[in-house]
Chain length 460, copies 2
């Protein structure tokens, strides 16, 4: 980048709010994909006006710009794969601006960490349900732009279900407000709706208004052990269809159970086909027991050999232990993990898992699975020896079949992680040329000069 | 329209599926606004392929086209204000294609009547919550394109909260699928999100996949009488913030109570400042009683002088009578009714109603209000003598002030009815030139030749 551009950016934000040195550029070249591309500079805007000035200048000078949250994404959405500017919000634009108790709404800046929001609203009796696994460090701006999910999606939905309004800056520097602090709003196009999950390719988020709920007074946890993964998957969708909606309905398959047991020695049932862990919530003990009774009934009708109810918080934490430690335990199966977050309609879960098993057998590899079965979202981990190029090649072949099986069953490439650069090669499996044309036309309507996070999501 | 165009359309759909005669053209020139513009033809497509062929031809020949549901809209969204073709779905594309019990999803065609869907899914123990007042005749296609609300929005949200996927035809004839039968899907832009509430200006909906819930087993109804409307409005948002979420929380102000009483003689409390009617639902009697106890507590803390609980369905219907018959009773205040559906954050309701009262006093007119206060949505009725041009002029002045008060309090021009042609003149009060530019750019991305329902919503 030319020196005059650096000078201009320093004039906007002050020299203390821009990194140009190699060490910092490297630090901002990564996300959780392990891909890396260095930016030319990292800028910390102090407020929306800075963002607007920076974008306007970048647009006029055709400088590429990538907004970044915590860099915790799994698909490279925040990686500056074309160089240019990283806009980082963690230094200044990271605050809760308002918790409106009367309307049950929070107004926050994009750099706010998800868990900081959860804690702040729970302290006043309110509740922000979206809880991605990255909740301790990922930011609301990143959550909105990736439409983050989490454990509680089965009952409470995902980030998009809580976004009431977004303030954003368009690539030309224009500031727009999309949405309102109202439950209903049908005036004008639903701009907030399309900004969510747009991976920072359409506009830069500067403020988000989020719906809050009253915090349910009670939660109870239970765990079911199943002889086969098929039976567990049948139990998942039959539970939801029976009239109860658990907060979470998470599963671990046999390979994952074994990995956790080998790593932590907790006495897990290593011969079980699958474990389901579930939380229910509400305001009355009777209601929680009603829900757990219903779940136990459906589980047992579908082969559940043991159903454990937690008597207190310590026991609940114990039932959740295997699920919470699943991801990190899988390294016993290989040094290279291709972890996907495919999602299918819930009733397709039994067949999906059968197909994954067939893929694993075909390639003689392990594909341990766990995740958010209550909403059809399976964390699918293709594990191989990363030092063996042949194995790595096989892993990518297997992943392509994983995606094809998912799409064949009416599912999506990504339930939570987005497309970024990691899944861009697979977009043509999921979308027709006509659909890709429409995506590109929308991108052009927002960003005619293609300066904002260009070429992500398989876009032109 | 030229004869050759008629010939072409007859070739596509067959001559039995096109109306060209004056009587039918008049019948399709209206909606509930009482504005009317005649189309050149009314076409009943048999399937998506017909829709695609018609759009492609219209696009190539620059023929304007307006998709139409039941014509029950209040803002002229389905009126052919520029002539051209009306695409009507009630004859062929009006079916439930699938009720998927396992995934709790319905797949329907755009011409399906809302209530036909509700009845069909309730017959198998499922539940489609969006219930606009027009539910007996309005169509799912219209509901989606206007993002219809209803009585149950306070707890269950609105149409957009149930749309999982849309199949649609773009103006160039391309067929696209937006969304999936999955709870999570973050691959590609959220096209379904922007099609909802787009008033038929971006694409023609040919199929909708809707989320269903398990039908709650029990519902209970209660009614609270308040000395002043302010106290009732305080009770509304304080109830929601106290941790219970009633299905509905509807209100009538004093003028509306008097109008219903004068029309139906039901012994209503004509000196009350407001009535609130509320429904709660759930699976357990204890849970319903818990909710009603909480509501009664908050109501009484806010001046409620009488709280009645319905003991059975007949009593519940009785408590709902005034609300259900509010709209039609208002004619006692004048022959001309300008009815708006402004929506504010719930906690702004007390001030909103005060401002409406001041506007009524200023112009010496009646502005009876009722509606969905549980979600901040107030049906605001400016009533005047329609035969007196001076009074009609005053009514429009008052409406402009109603909108200004709403926007000042963080509200929206429309919570349910959309913009269409009726509210298009007010768009500049609610949106900046930059925001209107973005709307126009999005319109152009979908519809570069501006053939689809042009110039609605204040667009170019």
């Amino acid at each position: 980048m030319e020196k005059k551009h650096f000078d201009h950016f320093r004039n906007i934000v002050g020299k203390e709010n821009i990194y140009e040195d190699k060490a910092h550029l490297i630090a901002y070249s990564y996300d959780a994909t392990r891909e890396h591309f260095e930016p030319d500079a990292v800028i910390f805007p102090r407020h929306e006006e800075d963002v607007s000035k920076i974008l306007k200048y970048c647009n006029e000078n055709r400088i590429v710009l990538v907004p970044r949250g915590a860099g915790s994404g799994f698909t490279g959405g925040a990686i500056p794969s074309e160089g240019g500017i990283i806009l980082a919000f963690e230094r200044h634009m990271n605050k809760i601006l308002e918790i409106d108790m009367q309307n049950m709404v929070a107004v926050v800046q994009p750099g706010l960490i998800n868990m900081d929001l959860q804690r702040a609203v729970e302290a006043v009796g309110l509740f922000y349900p979206p809880d991605p696994a990255s909740q301790d460090y990922s930011t609301i701006g990143g959550n909105v732009n990736e439409n983050a999910g989490g454990m509680r999606a089965a009952k409470y939905g995902i980030t998009k279900d809580y976004v009431m309004a977004i303030r954003a800056v368009l690539p030309n520097g224009d500031v727009i407000k999309a949405g309102k602090r109202t439950i209903k709003d049908v005036a004008g196009y639903n701009i907030a709706g399309i900004l969510i999950a747009s991976e920072g390719t359409l506009a830069v988020t500067t403020e988000v208004t989020l719906k809050l709920l009253a915090k349910p007074k009670k939660t109870k946890t239970a765990l079911g052990i199943f002889p086969t993964v098929s039976q567990a998957m049948e139990a998942v969708y039959k539970t939801m269809a029976s009239g109860v909606t658990p907060v979470a309905m998470e599963f671990l398959d046999n390979l994952t159970i074994r990995a956790v047991e080998q790593t932590f020695h907790k006495g897990l049932p290593i011969d079980a086909g699958a474990i389901l862990v579930t939380d229910v919530d509400g305001n009355l003990d009777d209601d929680l027991d009603f829900q757990l009774n219903q779940i136990e009934k459906v589980f047992k009708e579908n082969g559940c050999s043991e159903f454990k109810r937690a008597k207190d918080k310590a026991e609940a934490a114990d039932l959740w232990f295997a699920r919470r430690n699943a991801s990190q335990s899988l390294s016993i199966y290989g040094s290279k993990k291709l972890n996907e977050d495919v999602t299918v309609p819930r009733a397709a879960l039994p067949e999906l898992l059968e197909r994954f098993n067939a893929i694993a057998l075909k390639y003689k590899i392990n594909i341990p699975c766990f995740g958010h079965t209550g909403d059809g979202n399976v964390h699918t981990n293709v594990m191989v020896d990363g030092s063996d190029p042949e194995q790595v090649k096989i892993a990518y072949q297997a992943i392509e079949e994983v995606f094809q099986a998912t799409i064949d069953l009416g599912g999506t490439l990504s339930g939570e992680h987005g497309i970024g650069i990691a899944k861009a090669p697979y977009m043509s499996m999921a979308f027709s040329p006509e659909e890709m044309n429409l995506f590109n036309a929308i991108k052009k309507a927002f960003d005619p000069n293609n300066i904002l996070n260009p070429h992500k999501m398989g876009l032109n």
